[in-house]
């Protein structure tokens, strides 16, 4: 099944008509307004804030609506060290997010535990959540986070949205 149809104006068709497929349109809506759930747990959250501020401006990619409200968000950005004490809370907030949902593991700690090879730190948030994009760095530059967001957008654009929805309903 072809899932990466382009959305756009076709000069061969006259008038205000755009021909596309439902999948592609849905994905286009989704990928350009990925509202993040800022799971800021450590210093990576400072870079996450920088990515949201004017210099890097994550709003350029439609992801500026950072609210601490899992029920209105699409992508959880896990920014920082996930301790075992926090792990269940992170999982619970992820569970509260509506489908479809994605996860970015931002930085070394969220991806693998980072430098904390320790009794207190979860060795990578992928042990409790399905992670879509990992960002390297300690902490990553805001550009790296934006790159991760664009990679996630490309991933969202290729998803079989309708088929996933049918699977979720049945």
């Amino acid at each position: 099944m072809q899932t990466s149809a382009e959305v756009g104006y076709n000069s061969k068709i006259e008038g205000d008509v755009v021909v596309t497929r439902v999948d592609a349109a849905l994905n286009w809506f989704r990928k350009n307004s990925l509202w993040p759930m800022p799971m800021g747990l450590a210093c990576c959250a400072i870079e996450l804030m920088a990515a949201g501020a004017s210099r890097f401006d994550i709003a350029r990619f439609g992801a500026e609506v950072m609210r601490f409200s899992p029920r209105q968000s699409d992508v959880m950005i896990v920014a920082g060290t996930v301790t075992y004490k926090m792990a269940m809370a992170v999982r619970r907030i992820y569970d509260q997010m509506p489908e479809p949902k994605w996860v970015i593991a931002m930085g070394a700690c969220a991806s693998t535990g980072g430098m904390y090879r320790s009794y207190a730190v979860l060795q990578g948030v992928d042990r409790i959540l399905p992670v879509d994009v990992y960002v390297a760095g300690c902490p990553p530059r805001p550009e790296a986070l934006l790159d991760a967001l664009i990679k996630l957008q490309n991933k969202v654009a290729k998803e079989p949205a309708l088929a996933n929805q049918k699977k979720a309903v049945s």
């Binding site: 075992y84 090879r117 009794y119």
Partner: protein, 192 residues
Amino acid sequence: MSALEIAQQLKAKFADLVSDPVEFRGEVTLKVADAERIPEVCAVAKNELGFDYLVDITSVDNCGDDPRFTVVYELYGYGHHCHVRLKTDVSEEKPELPTVTTVWRTANWHEREIYDMMGVRFRGHPDLRRILMWEGYPYFPLRKDFPLSGKPSEVPDVAFSKAAPLEGGPFVTIAGGKDRVAREPRVRTPES
């Protein structure tokens, strides 16, 4: 008045209980022989000698020695700007001593941290719960016999923990290595 002079006053009040003050690099330390009487010594230090600020309470695990634990009180006075350290030993069989929250209220969280990390209990503490780890965590992670990688545990619906993969680590540097490769932090077994 110097810290040493104040420490000598404290020693004069508790002749048998408190050791002679030892000064090392400008820091004065007193050893209290009986941990059971630590609140008494602290009350005198605060009310009569002006140590109105309890900076910190810490603990040491002298694993293998007897008594195993040392509890360390750091006192400071805003009136005289002097700093004195009190040390007292606690045994492994009965890791318990009376609280000093009755003297300084700030001792509350310091004592909770020591209980959480080292497993030393403070009798009479108003709220002796874990402060960093979660309720039900079965170990005391700052004890020397607790592995760096941690141990698996599970408290349903609260938290779990697993041993961290150390991959041959801990990754350590060797000071004074010949070249950068030798100085880099890398996997080194205790023998090498």
